[in-house]
């Protein structure tokens, strides 16, 4: 027993000295996985860009279950990683309990803006503004007058996406029909392409000809089925236009990569507090590249750019789902 204690003590001391010398940033991917072609992959790209530019390395872990959240946070904090960057709203509760125990470590969390802990940098995105723009594009591209929305896990954040999308679509065509589905109510809903694909088929049969997927890995199935069935889809978070060139109308960009890159670049001195990145900060937007340029006409582009400017200037107010936990134009 004594021997074990000294071994553990020695190992701990070793870890601490190693950490003090390095102070690498750490990145915790959420359950969707590092290569979800979406939210987490965007974070990875930001981290990789930082690592390529500076030649420094970073620590990382892909969470496999809910139970690992707190464990991973503590492990990185103990190892001396600084800042510890975490992905997703589900990290809010674990952070509230872990962060106060490590006052000298800076934590960064994406998609959270409501915590009251001094050493956390909370980065939220105005997804409803970006979704509003892709909603406009969807309504302009739709021939049937019906557009679809497929969310991942049914949480306020995803409703927030759907709500902005619906407002944008209604702004173009007040009579448009919006079909909205959530994949499920558990985290497994982020990684179920088979279900995504069935939901897409169900929405197509209800008339939808443009479908916006805000569903992590499930979205891969949505985009695939949409391409197979010859309708348009809209990607999310990362630019997903290249997955099915000419068949993905656009992608709602959420510059998670920039947020992660900035946090890593600032390193230990990263500023804490709440930061919201919207259209004005280029934190959200829509993707336009060689894969979808044939789908977006000049009129569509002009209309969206005009709306974008109006939102920035405050002339158009996109209602946030968070304001009163309901959406004025869409019921879920």
């Amino acid at each position: 027993m004594t021997f074990m204690k000294s071994v553990i003590g020695a190992a701990g001391a070793l870890a601490l000295t190693a950490a003090a010398a390095l102070a690498e940033p750490a990145l915790i991917f959420d359950l969707g996985g590092k290569f979800d072609k979406s939210f987490n992959e965007a974070a990875f790209r930001g981290a990789k860009r930082w690592s390529d530019e500076t030649g420094n390395s970073f620590l990382e872990i892909e969470l496999q279950s809910e139970a690992q959240r707190e464990q991973a946070l503590r492990r990185f904090a103990e190892a001396g990683a600084n800042p510890v960057i975490t992905m997703g709203f589900a990290m809010a509760d674990p952070l509230t309990s872990v962060a106060p125990d490590y006052p000298d470590t800076k934590f960064v969390v994406i998609d959270v803006s409501w915590l009251d802990v001094p050493n956390i940098r909370q980065v939220a995105f105005a997804e409803h503004e970006g979704s509003y723009l892709v909603g406009m594009l969807a309504a302009m591209a739709s021939k049937t007058g019906t557009v679809g929305f497929i969310g991942g896990m049914d949480v306020p954040l995803i409703r927030h996406f759907g709500c902005g999308y619906a407002q944008g679509a209604k702004a173009v065509n007040p009579d448009i029909k919006i079909v909205a589905n959530m994949t499920g109510t558990t985290p497994a809903a982020w990684n179920d392409p088979v279900k995504g694909s069935e939901l897409t088929k169900a929405q197509i049969s209800q008339g939808a000809d443009v479908i916006y997927a805000a569903a992590g890995g499930t979205g891969v199935g949505v985009l695939q089925t949409a391409a197979d069935e010859g309708i348009l889809s809209i990607g999310v978070d990362s630019n997903q236009n290249h997955l099915h060139p000419g068949k993905v109308l656009t992608s709602m960009l959420k510059r998670v990569d920039v947020a992660v890159y900035d946090a890593m670049k600032a390193g230990e001195n990263v500023e804490t507090g709440v930061f919201t990145l919207g259209l004005a900060e280029n934190g959200v937007g829509y993707a336009l590249d060689e894969n979808n340029e044939a789908l977006i006409t000049d009129e569509m582009k002009a209309a969206v750019e005009e709306a974008r400017q109006k939102i920035i200037d405050g002339e158009i107010k996109v209602v946030s789902y968070y304001e009163n936990d309901s959406c004025p134009v869409l019921s879920f």
Binding site: E62, M182, N191, P193, L199, K201, A202, S205, L243
Partner: protein, 321 residues
């Protein structure tokens, strides 16, 4: 529910039921021969991965199917080796196969493709295309029967037809051939079969191999027909639902088909009715999602009467010395 919606839900039912049906028949052969197999899930997963991987590399879905079936047969062989030759515990061997498949597929996928445990998206000849049956186009205009034929029966990948043809084939093999009679006997009373001078070991290996073949097709269907690539844990418990269906069907092929169609229908309804009011009353999504499981429990709890498994199931056969 109008007629068009009904057709669409039934169409979705067929898609959801196909992997269940193949896995269920796979379990049927194995368990009828006295080898319990809870490794259906693992075999399907391994087959899904190898079919998608080989289809992605070669661009030929048939080679993919072959690889998937091969992988599934290999795991079946392992199960056979553990439970027939070495007389190990069949449940433990099955659990081990599930774990092995869940871990190995992601590991190999990461090593080969470096896309976080998935395969690249399959395109063109890397997938099973839907087959349009003869006259589907011209008959589409016929009322009632037209849509049923052109929408529901026609337009599925070839593996769906294979799955549904496997039902009468299984019935015929099990109940109308000498091999089938011996296979069923080996699951009830292996000593009697042995006394008659027939090899118990060979029969059981035969049954396990058929199980591997069917699981392989089920996995390949998931990854190369229903989806366009492998994603980790993509079988999502279908192997276990197939086992439930097998018990529900009391180890009989035709009943297995109806059980799988029922479970597939429940899943399809849950997907479809999320956002549809039924007579002004909205059923919450959560209730719909839970319905297949609730019904499974209810059905298993007592609505099928007593489900009696093959008598020698789960017991390794030891020749009297």
């Amino acid at each position: 529910m109008d007629f068009v919606t009904l057709i669409q839900v039934l169409d979705s039912t067929v898609r959801m039921a196909t992997p269940l049906l193949l896995a269920c028949l796979a379990g049927l052969f194995s368990e009828r021969a006295g080898i319990f197999d809870i490794g259906l899930e693992g075999k399907m997963l391994a087959a899904a991965f190898f079919s998608a991987a080989v289809a992605a590399i070669t661009g030929n879905v048939w080679l993919g199917l072959l690889a998937g079936v091969g992988a599934s047969l290999l795991l079946s062989g392992l199960h056979g080796l553990a439970s027939i030759t070495f007389r190990g515990n069949q449940l433990i061997s099955g659990v081990a196969i599930n774990f092995l498949a869940a871990g190995m597929t992601v590991l190999i996928a990461q090593d080969w493709f470096e896309q976080g445990g998935r395969t690249p998206s399959l395109t063109g000849p890397g997938r099973f295309p839907p087959i349009t049956l003869p006259f589907a186009e011209s008959l589409a205009g016929v009322p009632v029967l037209g849509p049923v034929y052109s929408e529901l029966i026609s337009g599925h990948p070839v593996l769906v037809y294979v799955a549904f043809l496997a039902v009468p084939a299984s019935w015929w093999i099990l109940f109308r051939t000498r091999f089938g009679l011996r296979l069923r006997a080996v699951g009830e009373n292996p000593a009697a079969v042995d006394t008659a001078g027939v090899s118990v070991v060979a029969l059981r290996y035969g049954a396990v191999a058929i199980c591997g073949l069917l699981c392989g097709i089920a996995g390949a269907y998931l990854a190369t027909a229903l989806q366009a690539g492998f994603v980790k844990d993509m079988t999502a418990g279908r192997g276990f639902i197939a086992l439930a269906a097998l018990i529900f069907a009391k180890w009989r092929p035709w009943h297995a088909m109806w059980a799988c169609l029922l479970f597939g229908f429940l899943q399809a309804v849950a997907l479809r009715y999320q956002n549809i009011d039924v007579g002004g009353f909205t059923i919450p999504v959560q209730a719909m999602d839970a319905l297949p499981y609730v019904l499974t429990v209810l059905i298993l709890a007592g609505f099928v009467g007593r489900a009696i498994p093959p008598r020698a199931g789960g017991e390794p056969y030891v020749k009297e010395r």
